[in-house]
């Protein structure tokens, strides 16, 4: 049995990663889930959060925003509107996004829109906390 599978992380502008990895943890809309080789095929929506990739015992993290994941037995593709390695995110990137999200909450027209914006905001804050703890 193969102990690696192909992981690719794609944003509309470029393909960030395409490599053989041993495991990935994906922030699904309904909770994190781990992907190992021979995972059952799944298509899942993602929440804003961190994708954690393990390759040869080394861990890399990527921030994804507005995306979805397609899992097949031998591959995992994460498609995200915005995706970047966390190293690039540190500093202002995330703070700007949080500010945008806060703005979205304050200008929301109805309760539904507000709830959605608040949800995104809370996810972003969670990412911020995780990053701070690293």
């Amino acid at each position: 049995m193969a102990d690696t599978f192909t992981f690719s992380l794609v944003s509309p502008e470029r393909e960030l990663v395409s490599e053989e990895v041993s495991s990935v943890v994906v922030p699904g809309a309904e909770g994190d889930f781990g992907v190992l080789p021979n995972h059952a095929p799944v298509i899942a929506r993602l929440r804003p959060g961190l994708v954690t990739v393990t390759k040869d015992g080394e861990v890399k993290r990527y921030f994804v925003y507005h995306g979805f994941a397609e899992v097949t037995q031998s591959s995992l593709s994460v498609l995200a509107e915005d995706a970047q390695p966390v190293e690039e995110l540190k500093g202002d990137g995330l703070a700007d996004k949080i500010k945008d999200a806060e703005e979205d909450v304050s200008v929301a027209k109805d309760a539904l829109e507000k709830a959605l914006a608040e949800e995104i905001l809370s996810h972003l804050k969670a990412v911020e906390d995780t990053l701070a703890a690293l």
């Binding site: 690719s8 794609v10 509309p12 393909e15 095929p41 799944v42 298509i43 397609e70």
Partner: protein
Amino acid sequence: MASLKELRNRIDSVKNTQKITKAMQMVAAAKLRRAQDAAEAARPYSERMDAVLGNLAAAMATMPGAPALLAGNGKSDRHLLVVATAERGLCGGFNSSISKLARAKALELKAQGKDVKLLCVGKKGYDALKREFRSDIVDVVDLSAVRQLGFNDAHDIGTKLITMFEADEFDVCTIFYNKFESVISQVPTAQQIIPAFFPTADNDEDKTVHVYDYEPDEKAILNDLLPRNVSVQVFKALLENGASEQGARMSAMDNATRNAGEMIDSLTILYNRSRQAQITKELIEIISGAEAL
């Protein structure tokens, strides 16, 4: 016959023009490479998106209550044509071939008694279409301030389209752009983006059909992805258009440079001939003057 000075001035001016066209050609060549890279880098995303949506659409097709963005709202009376052109001219037939295609389509639809609206992306298409369709143009998107096209620019247009669709302002949306084939060939293309249209994914080479689990259910994912797919399609079209524009400009400027070179050659020959003629004439005058003495 033009005087020598006049000829010299013309040669100089053509030479200057040639310098400009040459420079524009080289700039276009450099930009083309970047635009091509960008178009290539965007390909994996839209390909996977198509594959996933094709899969989902096939699964949803049998179910009632498919989202309007996929199945349409059941009518096709009102069309929105998105005409994507360049912000700048001097690129051969690039802009006119798109606006010609869009114009033909608009007239055809009107002849069928349908309602047509236009949304122009890029100034040149608007310039070409405003005389005939002024009252039908609902919006103009100006991208002249954008140096490097990002997904956000396309996303803004996509959001606009979705908002209009949801406000029930049109039934079918088609985008017009130039598909990049090569530097010398760009194909004006019309692509329907609302309702979404997927090429049937059941080609022979890809026989491994996966039965996916969906999280959350199919419908929620489809509702989430379809609006985004509109932006992705717009983005793809704009990138193709960007590469095509530079390709078209490059070959147009190459032609112009060559024509200027030919013109310089023929003018130079003319110049040398008249110079020689003048020298001969002067010599004859001197000799016949001397003989008369």
